[in-house]
């Protein structure tokens, strides 16, 4: 069983919703990333999402665009990101790591070479924002042969047929994009997301994570009540941006955003279980 499947099984057994923080690798400088990954695990992260910097992050809002620009100032490329995962793995063999990024860096490395290198580094899942199932067959095959899960995005505009298709080709979990928009926008409607997650569950057996627009602990707790995973990007990256000029503070302070969300999610979970 893959590290992601094992993780979600164990969490389900404990009645705990996964918390998945996203950081852009190399933001604001390469040396911060691996210590930050460990600190996020200590703060309550169950899975880590590591962004591969790209010059043209079309699906991202201003927060993650700026994170990519900071990382690219130090030329953090896909090869560097894989090296960071490998370094992280030397001290942590249990926390799943998902790479999130865009197609072109993987195209340039080549699907087969990427799959080999990712498996070697200890990557568990790959989410390629601009690679829908229609275009993804070759990459999915390359990743599957190395037992790496392909994680697909499902959106409010995805019909049942598309969700079934993602479910068939994908693994790990399904990432539900909570609204029509870019990362970090202030548009999340908890009630609408709850209805959509219920609709999606009718067409997939994969765990369903919810991301885009989860800005604070209260919203995280509300989403955690019905989702299998809460994915937090811009709220954490904003904190990193505030500390970008004092990178020595990032590892100690930025994970507090995640710790607060973890506490709120667990508190609500306890209440729900008691009821």
């Amino acid at each position: 069983m893959s590290r992601l499947a094992t993780c979600f099984d164990a969490l389900r057994g404990r009645g705990r919703t996964a918390l998945i923080p996203y950081v852009t690798a190399g933001d604001p400088q390469p040396g911060v990333t691996v210590p930050l990954m460990h600190a996020l695990v200590e703060a309550g992260a169950d899975v880590l999402e590591l962004g591969v910097p790209f010059s043209d992050p079309m699906a991202d809002g201003p927060t993650i665009q700026a994170a990519c620009e900071r990382a690219l100032r130090h030329h953090t490329g896909l090869g560097d990101v894989l090296a960071m995962v490998r370094e992280f793995r030397s001290d942590n063999s249990y926390t799943p790591v998902v790479l999130m990024g865009y197609s072109n860096p993987i195209e340039v490395m080549g699907y087969e070479d990427f799959a080999v290198a990712a498996a070697h580094a200890g990557v568990d899942g790959v989410l390629t924002v601009d690679l829908p199932p229609e275009e993804g067959a070759d990459l999915v095959a390359a990743l599957n042969s190395r037992e790496i899960d392909t994680i697909f995005l499902a959106a409010p505009t995805s019909d049942a047929g598309r969700i079934q298709r993602m479910s068939a080709g994908g693994g790990g979990f399904l990432y539900y994009v909570s609204f029509k928009g870019v990362t970090g926008a202030d548009r999340l409607d908890v009630g609408a997301v709850r209805d959509q997650v219920a609709r999606i569950r009718a067409h997939t057996d994969l765990p369903v994570g919810v991301g885009f627009g989860i800005r604070d602990a209260q919203i995280a707790a509300q989403i955690a009540a019905f989702a299998d995973a809460v994915i937090v990007g811009s709220a954490l990256v904003n904190r990193i941006a505030e500390l970008a000029e004092q990178p020595q503070r990032i590892v100690a302070e930025a994970p507090q955003v995640i710790a607060q969300m973890r506490a709120a999610m667990d508190a609500d979970g306890t209440v729900a279980a008691a009821n």
Partner: protein, 410 residues
């Protein structure tokens, strides 16, 4: 086998691309975030429905005739041909269209489609401002809200077009991310579209982007080639030996080429922005010096670094200053049906001056790249050979650039 139209059965397949998924060989496709997959399919279905709809076509033909001013002339540049001393050069005068370039052929078509799809708001990206002006123009014509995304860097360089768009009622948004140029404007327009997809129609200005845009924009621009084909048959009594067009994203080139793709005897030349020379690295020539990758929703040739990051381009012509190119051009290059070459900034400027002085026609700097290649090619051919050059736009917008390069303050 040669058919009655002079086409071979073997070559007849060139015009039948893309496949159902929008692929031209390995190029094209639909590389976008999931949220846009449904809306793109909705757009494809609407386009396929209306492209065969008699009312839609009649309205399009009427607007192209009466609003745009089509057909545009095919002009035999006799004096310039004589000076070059070789092939006869004919110019397809897209510069005479309303708004001064070929861009409006496409924006009229897409705006009519937007109206039928019930979209009240249109958005567009622009580099030099020509597509932005053409979009703002049709928005005014059809009474729609219009937002144009433009790199902050380009806004500085193209102040007159920015003001034209504002006069037409469009909102021009300065894009401050990335390299602050056309590619970033395209990213920002995509972000707007994904955020407002229910009521917004995104008018892409070139034959790039996710399916169905490359095929749809090509079809709207193919009026250029259809007219040119019948005009040259009427004027010269035969097909041309070669077609020449500049290639940024490649919409004017594919518009001219497409109706000739199955005429194997007609050579096709796309001319990219060679900037300061291909060896300098400062150019905008992905087909000549880039490699395949994925950007802006399609797989195509790109200018990128070893990590797959998109790199900045350089061309004296803002309309060619783009790191990608339409996927159909990438395919035509690989199969050898079209040849892609580059003309440098200085070659384009020489052609600009030469045409202005010998024919009294001031070409856009984009089109001057196509003229520069005609200038190289014509003298190598006999006088009975025929070249058609797409004069895709007029040069008024570029006079400040030309003057500045020559140290003259206008």
């Amino acid at each position: 086998m040669v058919t009655q139209t002079g086409q071979t059965a073997e070559s007849a397949r060139f015009s039948e691309m893309p496949d159902a998924g929008g692929h031209f060989g390995i190029y094209g496709g639909r590389f976008v975030a999931e949220t846009l997959m449904g809306p793109l399919e909705e757009l494809r279905l609407a386009y396929e429905r209306y492209v065969g709809d008699a009312d839609f076509q009649a309205e399009l033909d009427r607007d192209l005739a009466q609003f745009v001013g089509r057909p545009s002339p095919l002009y035999h540049a006799e004096r310039w041909s004589r000076e070059l001393g070789g092939a006869q050069i004919y110019l397809k005068r897209e510069d005479l269209n309303h708004t001064g370039a070929h861009k409006v052929n496409n924006t009229v078509g897409q705006a009519m489609l937007a109206k039928r799809m019930g979209k009240r708001r249109i958005i567009a990206e622009t580099g030099a401002g020509q597509h932005g002006v053409a979009s703002a123009t049709v928005a005014a014509r059809y009474g729609m809200e219009c937002v144009v995304y433009m790199g902050a860097e380009d806004i500085q360089r193209q102040a007159i077009n920015v003001y034209r768009m504002r006069l037409l009622g469009a909102k021009v948004v300065a894009v401050e991310s990335g390299s602050r140029t056309l590619k970033d404007a395209l990213n920002e327009a995509m972000r707007d579209w994904v955020s407002n997809v229910d009521d917004t129609f995104y008018i892409i200005g070139t034959v790039a982007g996710p399916h169905p845009y490359p095929a749809m924009v090509r079809d709207f621009q193919a009026v250029i080639g259809r007219e040119a084909r019948s005009q040259i048959l009427a004027q010269a009594g035969r097909l041309p030996d070669a077609l020449i067009a500049c290639v940024g994203g490649g919409s004017n080139a594919i518009g001219l080429f497409h109706p000739f793709l199955d005429d194997a005897q007609v050579a096709l030349y796309g001319v990219e922005g060679g900037g300061k020379g291909l060896d300098s690295g400062q150019h905008a020539a992905p087909l000549c010096a880039g490699r395949p990758g994925v950007l802006h929703g399609n797989r195509t040739y790109l200018m990128e670094d070893a990590d797959g990051q998109i790199i900045e381009t350089h061309s004296v012509s803002a309309g060619l200053d783009y790191p990608g190119v339409g996927p159909e051009h990438a395919w035509l290059k690989d199969i050898g049906r079209a040849s892609y070459v580059a003309a440098s900034d200085s070659e384009a400027l020489e052609a600009f001056h030469e045409l202005t002085r010998t024919e009294g026609i001031m070409p856009a700097l984009e089109s001057s790249h196509a003229l520069a290649h005609a200038r190289r090619l014509a003298p190598t051919l006999d006088k009975d050979r025929i070249l058609i050059v797409n004069l895709s736009g007029r040069g008024d917008k570029d006079i400040h650039t030309v003057a500045a390069l020559e140290g003259i303050k206008v």
